[in-house]
Amino acid sequence: MSAVAGEMTELLATRGAEKVFGSAVTAASCARDGQTFALGTVDGDIVLVPVAGLKHPETWTRVEAHDGAVLCLAPDTGKEGFLTGGEDNRLCRIGPDGTVTELHKGRRWVECVASTPGHIAFSAGKQLEIRDSSGETTLKTLEHPSTVTGIVFDTKGKRVAASHYNGVSVWFVQARVDTVRPLEWKGSHTAIAIHPGGEAIVTAMQENDLHGWRLSDGHNMRMSGYPRRVSSLSFTRNGRWLATSGADAIVLWPFFGGGPMGKPPTELARLPGVFCSAVCAHPKSDIIAAGFEDGSVLLAETGSERVLPICLGKRGRVSTLCFSPFGGMMVFGTEDGCVAAIDLSASD
């Protein structure tokens, strides 16, 4: 195994493992059964990390899935496996054993994919396609005014929202006649998140800020003041906070007590001069995982401001982080091609 020589004191060294694959990591996901993680790379590979072999990188496998970068990754509709989209204009299904099945091949990059147990949504150019859980049947194709840059389903899987130029389009997955609910705001929206209680949709914008819409009445929310473009945003499990990258700390916007309008954001885990590059909220507790551009990864508690370092620097910009469905395990990947996994439930 070609593990990185980390500090012995790092939690990653005692409770996890890492391996350098060399190609920048673009995305990470965990299967619905929580038994396998997958990470995609710029060279089209999927790295499969079985939870049973979390601390043993020799059990991690690399699958050649795409020609060109893996652009997006989501859990499959079933218990096992993954869905991936790539620069080769393909949408693929990856089995836990590494089997690759092509579900779509078109003329545009497959840039976004999302799933629920019942549906797959993916985008290629301006089109968002909804398929059934088998991935074989196209239920509908939804047109947008410009290229789709992000897709989310709401918690119940009833609505799907897509970000693009000048706003977001919200659609009902099961509608017999498709009518869009447009949420408009001028500019380029580059990423999207939905409040777990369905209260709001938030996008990251090209110009170093966020834009949000309250879904009850379409009211606009502006969240600005970032020194960098926000590339990663994640709501906490109960929707109280929206965690984002884009500053030299985790930025948290309050979605309670009338916020975020007129409320300043809270900052957690400031690393002066080192920018946060990826965030992921824990699925079961009030914890945010954050990765930084120097390769540092840490967990921060939203209530107490307590911070637990996982590893410190030396791994390249953290591009993606992902928890298992119950939050006991986590993986992350970096632009230097480091893949790491950690068991957070272990009591040694």
Partner: protein
């Protein structure tokens, strides 16, 4: 100018001018270099080893509310993704559609931090059909823009005109853009070093060779688009220059299509290469001047309704 940045060549030109022929010539030239090419319509491209990506020209206005501050979001997305691969490309070529305004493409490289960090706009290359260009310029606002924006013009189909007619065409092109480098060609055949990897606009040489005789020839043709250059022989005060150019671009940026300069700031050994597209400006130190070049600073403006006395007074007031 960091050499680790990947050079980006923007290829513009009207429909039928020979853009696709030139692109095929570039890709099949056996130079041993690998290019990523962004095209708008799949043509007969796709030489082995080159990566051709089909893109839609998606322009958006930045949210400062100004109509000239437009950017290509598709470039930010696609190049952002391609540039994550390391050591995979020697260069990137962006082909625009015939009617496209080159400004949003160029401005994209000023606006996006990620692209600024990893790539540099090498040159805007405009392919011009020598035979039809006069009529095209009379009829089309976009054609004038494409000439005004060019660092390099490939004057194609030169076999269809005699020398006198070619000289007339070149004079008209220089009336719009006095600092452009014009290469004659037919069937898109041109030495690649004239087009690719020009090393950051080749600014010093372009300004050096800019013919002065055209400067007094202030056309009101071509919708008032013309170019003016100014020079001062004493070093400039950097802060005063930044304040002046900042205010000028803010106020007149919509009409200033491009500005480029090679500047000597007082107390700096290295020359400063300055460039702007409409309101967006950028600059870099590019190393010391050669002895024979002296301390002269030169700046050129290409735009509409330029006010020569005002620009001259402004530039001269930046002297240290």
């Amino acid at each position: 100018m960091s050499e680790t940045k990947i050079p980006v060549t923007v290829l513009t030109g009207f429909l039928g001018a020979g853009k696709t022929t030139l692109l095929n010539h570039i890709l099949s030239a056996g130079h041993g270099r690998k290019y990523a090419v962004l095209v708008n319509e799949f043509g007969e491209l796709g030489v082995d080893g080159d990566l051709v990506v089909d893109a839609d020209e998606e322009v958006f206005e930045t949210n400062n509310g100004c109509i000239c501050c437009t950017v290509r979001g598709d470039l930010i997305r696609i190049l952002g993704s391609l540039l994550r691969r390391r050591n995979k490309f020697d260069g990137i070529i962006v082909e625009t559609t015939g009617l496209a305004d080159p400004a949003p493409v160029a401005q994209t490289f000023f606006v996006d931090d990620n692209l600024r960090e990893k790539a540099r706009l090498d040159a805007v290359v405009t392919v011009v059909d020598a035979f039809n260009v006069s009529r095209t310029l009379d009829e089309s606002h976009e054609a004038v823009s494409q000439i005004a924006f060019a660092d390099v013009i490939v004057l194609n189909k030169t076999d269809l005109l005699d020398e006198a007619a070619l000289e007339a065409v070149e004079a008209r092109l220089r009336g719009i853009n006095a600092s452009v480098k014009i290469h004659r060609a037919c069937h898109g055949k041109i030495a690649l070093e004239n087009v690719l990897d020009r090393g950051g606009f080749d600014l010093a040489r372009a300004l050096e060779t800019m013919p002065d005789f055209l400067e007094n020839n202030e056309h009101t043709h071509e919708e008032g688009v013309t170019s003016m250059s100014f020079s001062v022989s004493e070093p400039l005060d950097e802060q005063r220059f930044q304040a002046w150019i900042g205010a000028l671009l803010q106020e007149r940026g919509a009409d200033i299509l491009r500005a480029k300069g090679i500047l000597h700031f007082a107390g700096q050994k290295e020359r400063f290469a300055f460039q702007a597209v409409h309101m967006m400006a950028d600059g870099d130190y590019i190393g010391p001047a050669r002895a024979e070049e002296g301390q002269e600073s030169r700046i050129v403006f290409i735009g509409r309704d330029l006010n020569r006395p005002q620009l001259r007074r402004g530039f001269e007031s930046c002297r240290a």
